[in-house]
Symmetry: C2
Subunit: 331 residues, 2 copies
């Protein structure tokens, strides 16, 4: 592995080794930063494998562009070593693959960190690897894959992660010293990794952005800045975010009313951005309706909470995903 | 005027004379039937004037096709006689024209029958002609203009009409004997005209169809049958209709829960149909967002009633209308 000579190890702590499952806009960006920092990182690629073996991994980033001419690349998990930490960067629409992808990478003490959008998205991983081994992380990241082995990081990058405790928050998570070691590795790699003991509330906060802006960008066929500029869609986005906040509160995650303002203000400051859902939709890939909308809706339903706007967006998105022009249909 | 020889006068009552303002899918269909029955009907045309003068008015109808080689056609209201009854078939998006179009047609006892979609759409007419002279009618009609002077009637046709009593139902409407005479003329013309003393409730019932199906057909870019076939959009349409029903009830129009089933069942039975709003949208014409959605929303707001889904559709439609491709923009 080639380590970028501009970056040195920032602490003497015993580093972990990592597998990145799903090396796209997200896995490629974070995994790239981690490999650049000298960590032992193993990347699973799909269609980009040949290209990356020949040409390496390129990341254009607001934090500084970098290029890794050689990365530890694989196209089959059976060729990969077991690791201390597996980072899942797949879209949740690929979660049916986890039963095949995860077991070869697991040791007794392996922790799986699920960096997916949505609520309770860790449950699919939990079902494969069992209780006490799964963490979830919310990524505040604007990043796109712009070509094979080529990631463009536009803005942000924070990861807020913590133990996953099951659908009803009753299970035990992974050992906290292991999570702290992961955090240390992230921070040393230049990633703003923050540990939380309340993953569910962190996920609801993230949904206060994802639910309005992912969905409306598809339904209105608009970028975030177009949504923010029009007074009607701007107010709609705010109302959706507020409905998510109230739902979170009724589901046990107390989020202050001012957080809606934070969401709106920060979207104003964002560079014009196509949400990942809009990119998926335009490129004919499956969209994460169930992870983001369906799971939030069902969490509310279990507690008898009504979600009129959320449910409407969910139903509109399902219709639109099923009725795309033929060349855009989900596989 | 040429009277179709197949139709005879069905009653001996003293008929009224009529002006049709806006001879499109709606005004052309009803006005055509009325002229065919022998009534004295004066039609205002816009772009179709020359064509109709030369080629007449053609109606392809489920009730039997018919053709009127000569109709009393005008392109300027100042050439038209004053009449007993003006029928407004313009879209509500053209209501700014009423101050010019109506006065030349009015006599002391003229009644204006507003056949527009929405709630309180009569108010614009009321503001021009004053209290006690305005009736409103809900048309249950599937009809399109398919060419100059050429209407295609697909299904239905009932008009439920009654006195307009102002935004707070406190004003007096037109004399009931005049409304009964209009009804008689409609029925003699083969039109299922029904008088109601509760126009507001009739309007809310109609909105229980218009609000889900006009809006969703634009937002989802889908015909009514596609909306009904997909389980998500079907359930969404039902939920929207139910929200409108509950809003109507809270605004003083008691509508039974079973009416939602009636709306859904009757939409199932409809021939595949592009709603008028979808046609307007696709053809770059203004859409009736304010008459149908805005006025219902504001009626709810005046009574402190929340309408989360209705308001969301309103905001989505405004965004979409403002962001159509350049060649589709509203004038």
């Amino acid at each position: 592995m080639v380590v970028d000579s501009q970056v040195s190890q920032k602490s003497g702590h015993m580093t972990l080794n990592y597998a990145i499952i799903g090396t796209g806009a997200l896995g490629g960006f974070y995994g790239g930063l981690m490999a650049r920092s000298g960590l032992d990182v193993h990347f699973l690629f799909h269609s980009d494998f040949e290209h990356v073996v020949q040409h390496g991994l390129r990341v254009d980033s607001k934090l500084g562009d970098f290029y890794l001419p050689k990365v530890q690349a694989y196209r089959d998990v059976r060729d990969m070593p077991s690791v201390d930490c597996v980072i899942v960067g797949l879209k949740s629409t690929q979660n049916h693959l986890l039963a095949t992808l995860l077991p070869p990478l697991m040791r007794e003490d392996t922790v799986v960190l699920v960096l997916q959008n949505g609520l309770h998205v860790e449950q699919a991983t939990r079902d494969v690897v069992g209780e006490g081994r799964v963490a979830g992380g919310c990524c505040f990241l604007c990043s796109n894959k712009v070509g094979p082995g080529h990631i463009r990081h536009l803005d942000y990058g924070r990861i807020v992660f913590g133990p996953y405790r099951g659908l009803d928050d009753s299970e035990s998570g992974p050992p906290s010293d292991r999570l702290q070691a992961i955090q240390q590795d992230l921070v040393n790699a230049g990633i703003d990794g923050q540990l939380t003991d309340d993953l569910t509330t962190a996920r609801w906060r993230k949904l206060m952005w994802n639910i309005p802006f992912n969905g409306l960008s598809v339904i209105l066929n608009a970028s975030t800045d177009a949504i923010m500029k029009d007074p009607h869609s701007r107010n709609l986005a705010r109302r959706v975010s507020e409905e998510v906040r109230q739902t979170a509160c009724k589901c046990g995650s107390a989020i202050e009313p001012e957080f809606v303002d934070w969401v709106v203000d920060h979207t104003d400051e964002m560079v014009p951005y196509d949400s990942s859902m809009r990119l998926d939709f335009k490129q004919g890939r499956p969209i994460e309706v169930e992870a983001i909308y369906g799971n939030a809706m069902r969490a509310a339903l279990r507690r008898g909470v009504e979600t009129p706007i959320l449910t409407s967006l969910y139903q509109q998105l399902h219709f639109l995903a099923a009725h795309r022009p033929a060349h855009q249909k989900d596989a």
